[in-house]
């Protein structure tokens, strides 16, 4: 009886949905801005706090409520529930790390066992956004960061107009057709970051030398995150 080679077995593994290679480009990011009342309030505070020349009534931050609402709209650009935030270009899920080392007595060549000490503090969630005509980076993210600076990240009632934390950001990863659905891509994994606020926007470069895309990286902080299997644990049975 012919035995199965490791290559045949590996090929069979690759051909099954749960163990098929996940494509790197199949993902999207969803924002839930509820809770970030500072956004929904059209940054009403920003001019009263961030205008240096109040007496002359110059408004340094001046963009329309329509722009803000169009960018945030649930069926528009930033939180589209079909393809996610259309401005997102790439995302880096922060690492998870426990400090650990081999501590204790060593004697005669015997080594001490591994000992864990503490869990590393959360690293920032990094998302890079494309620049567009109606600038999500400068009409939403940048004033949002300024408001985070003024009001801080302290816990606030969800109805407070100074609340700066968005309810959550979800990174949704798609499998190819298969798994739960035979005709449409399905979400194979969701990483959700809760109580999210941006704290840094990278520099946005413009140049005359060559035509191309503009984009900038944004760092978000969050209170906690979770990883979920939208198929409720049944993926491995597919």
């Amino acid at each position: 009886m012919a035995t199965k080679s490791p290559y045949h077995y590996y090929n069979e593994i690759l051909s099954k949905w749960p163990t098929a290679i996940a494509p790197v480009s199949q993902w999207f990011v969803q924002f839930d801005f509820s809770g970030a009342n500072i956004l929904n309030n059209n940054f009403n505070y920003i001019n009263s706090l961030d205008t240096a020349d109040l007496e002359s009534n110059n408004l340094y931050w001046n963009f329309s409520q329509q722009t803000t609402q169009n960018l945030l709209g649930s069926n528009n650009q930033a939180s589209n529930n079909f393809i996610g935030c259309v401005f997102a270009r790439d995302i880096a899920i922060p690492r998870e790390s426990i400090k650990a080392s081999n501590e204790g007595l060593t004697y005669g060549g015997y080594q001490a066992p591994a000992v864990a000490s503490e869990r590393e503090k959360y690293n920032k969630l990094k998302i890079t956004f494309n620049e567009t005509n109606s600038s999500f980076l400068d009409f939403i993210i940048r004033p949002w960061i300024v408001n985070v600076g003024y009001f801080g990240l302290v816990a606030r009632d969800s109805t407070s107009e100074k609340a700066v934390k968005a309810n959550h950001i979800q990174a949704c990863y798609l499998g190819k057709t298969g798994g739960n659905s035979s005709s449409s891509p399905n979400i194979r994994k969701i990483i959700s970051f809760f109580n999210v606020a941006p704290v840094e926007i990278g520099s946005l470069s413009s140049q005359y030398q060559a035509e191309g895309l503009q984009y900038a990286s944004v760092d978000f902080v969050y209170d906690y995150y979770t990883v979920s299997d939208p198929t409720n644990g049944s993926m491995i049975n597919k």
Partner: protein, 181 residues
């Protein structure tokens, strides 16, 4: 598996050629080039001499295992979508050239620094393959097309006055199989 000559010998080939014939490189037509600013009518399109049927590719992902490289299919791309080429004969009235220039200037006009260069303002191209009786047998739509490059013309008073052909390069987003017109 049997004798492979049974159906794939010279007689089988000849019978198949009788039954199915062969696709020919000249049996195509560009059915339409529609843009927001100019429309190429049939008097323009009939002057097209050559083009290509666009390609579609599946990205290959290499997954090495114990020295053997497995190849896993990834997502789709449209190779050459940044530059689909079509060649026109040019009439004495320069109509094709004028339309290509107008289309190009509508995408971006350096005289005014304005242009319709968002993807919603682009055009579409349709082309079809046909049988020997002129009946279309396959049709393709190139979605989100814009003129990327108007080709150069070589003008030379020392030649015998050859017909000018103009090569245009059109970029598009992706193509679809269309209903046979």
């Amino acid at each position: 598996m049997g004798n492979l000559f049974a159906n794939q010998d010279i007689q089988g080939f000849f019978q198949n050629a009788i039954n199915k014939d062969f696709a020919r490189t000249n049996l195509f037509r560009v059915v339409s080039i529609e843009t927001p600013v100019v429309t190429f009518d049939e008097t323009d399109l009939v002057y097209i001499t050559s083009t290509t049927l666009p390609a579609r590719a599946i990205t290959n992902i290499s997954v090495p295992f114990m020295g053997l490289k497995f190849n896993v299919p990834g997502t789709a791309t449209y190779p050459g979508s940044e530059g689909w080429q079509v060649t026109f004969r040019v009439g004495q009235d320069l109509q094709v050239r004028n339309k290509l220039e107008a289309w190009s200037r509508s995408i971006f006009d350096d005289a005014t620094s304005t242009g319709a260069y968002n993807t919603g303002a682009l055009g579409n191209v349709s082309l079809a393959l046909m049988d020997k009786l002129g009946a279309p047998i396959a049709a393709y739509n190139l979605i989100g097309a814009y003129i990327q490059n108007i080709g150069t013309w070589t003008l030379d008073t020392t030649t015998d006055g050859a017909i000018v052909t103009s090569q245009a390069t059109i970029a598009y987003q992706y193509w679809t199989n269309a209903a046979i017109p």
